[in-house]
């Protein structure tokens, strides 16, 4: 995979103009996710009411892939149930491992723009940071 092609418009746009890189009102779940090797760091905050993710935001510092991936993820899971969010997370992990079907990648919508990460082992951790943090938060809900 060529990094020059990898930084596509979906990714650079979510990195430069993130919709969810902000503090949200009254979060009831919060978790920090860190990649110690490369220093990617996000704090994910969710508002969950009756099993539905009604709002979410993140703050942090990291490469374009880690930050854009978290932003795309929140676009996708806000308004969905925690079960549905976890199902999407598992699909995303499958996509990164190269085992997801085309239909599953389609369900991931814009997150599908990161599918070529599966050919870039050094950047996998960046792409999954937000999703792993989400997965860990849902354990607490």
């Amino acid at each position: 995979m060529n990094s020059r092609n990898f930084y596509n418009e979906v990714l650079t746009d979510h990195n430069i103009n993130p919709a969810h890189k902000r503090e949200i009102e009254n979060p009831n779940f919060e978790l920090e996710g860190v990649n110690p090797n490369c220093g990617d760091d996000i704090i994910l905050k969710l508002r969950v009411d009756d099993g539905i993710i009604t709002d979410g935001g993140y703050v942090g510092d990291g490469c374009a892939i880690s930050q854009a991936s978290a932003d795309i993820m929140l676009d996708l899971v806000i308004g969905k149930s925690t079960e549905e969010a976890r199902r999407l997370a598992e699909m995303f992990f499958g996509m990164i491992k190269g085992t997801a079907s085309d239909d599953e990648i389609e369900q991931l919508e814009e997150a599908g723009a990161l599918k070529d990460i599966s050919h870039m082992p050094a950047r996998v951790k960046c792409a999954v940071l937000g999703w792993h943090t989400l997965d860990d938060i849902i354990d607490k809900v």
Partner: protein, 408 residues
Amino acid sequence: MGNSIIEPHREDFPLLMSLDAAYLDNAATSQKPYCVIDAERDFYKRLNSNPLRSFYDLSISATDSYENSRENVRKFINAKSTKEIVFTNNATSSINLVAYSYGLSNVKKGDRIVVAISEHHSNMLPWQMVAQTTGAELEYMKCDSAGVYSDEEIYRCITPNTKIVAVAVISNVTGSKAPIEKIISTAHANNAVVMLDGAQSVPHTKTDVQQLDADFLAFSAHKMLGPMGVGVLYGKEDLLEKMPPFLRGGEMIESVRLDRATFAELPHKFEAGTVNAAGVFALSSAIDYYNNVGIDNMERREQYLTNYAYQKLSKIPHVNVIGSSDPYNHSGILSFTIDNVHPHDVSAVLNQDNICIRAGHHCAQPFLAHLGIRSSSRASLMFYNTEEEIDKFVQSVASVRKLMGYGD
């Protein structure tokens, strides 16, 4: 030769001849010339036996090669005696040896340890450990944004209760030279000793430990054309003499009873267990290489290349070079940030253009925090680098922001 710039000698380095990429990560590790690779292999082919132990000819030859290498290292840094040259695994283990052995036996509650804020974690964490264990106070000596330590700051930190001062001769982040003469004289006036991290300086500039009046100096073979897995600790003989062994076991003893032991003479007291004799032999070959080409010649070429790269890199819009605005105070190390682009994205783009640079915190998180940044990209040069490689690097850096979606 005079002041002319030497050729890059690339034909001496097999990896450079076959690598289809510009290797600009020399502060992490240098490439190895044929003579070093051959020496490592040659030891196992011709000399392999456990040195310092046995009385048959082969072992005596192995011992000779090991001890002749020690003499070669002694000359290279102008130590007084080979008793002052201890072989370790790397610069980190050299510093840990001093921390555990000298530090824990000489520092007590109420004393002070001074650590320069620009230190690599390897000359910081051992001193955090000594401070925590002994209850001593840990004081950080702060530099300005160009990496410069003022006389006032040196006097503020190094007080009469200071026992140890830890500082790198050249920073692995900015390439700045610390005022080590001033630091050493101030420390000595206060009866403190100085732990010099020479990992970035010994490979690039002439080192004379007697002229410096250095107490301890640590460096690694692999950053100076030698193999990985060999480090050197230089220590003044009278200091090393009084220090307890760090690791205990084979080869470092004089006699052993069931309840006590007496230890071998210097430097063997600090070389427990089977040594990396092949690696040391290869380090000696690297030093021969330095002596043949001339470290002053290498340094002049590196200064020329640093200036060449600095002038181009610092003119790229949105690129900020960290440290001094004088390229001659960078010693081949150019750390930089690009506005709103994370260093890992920078190195991913450069990797695609076949350029090897470092990205991250450079094992110096407190220093980067002090400079107000979280991470940076770093290109680091060696005499074998070329103007063409630097041009390629600069061109790639200049293309990064556009690729990341910025309109400029």
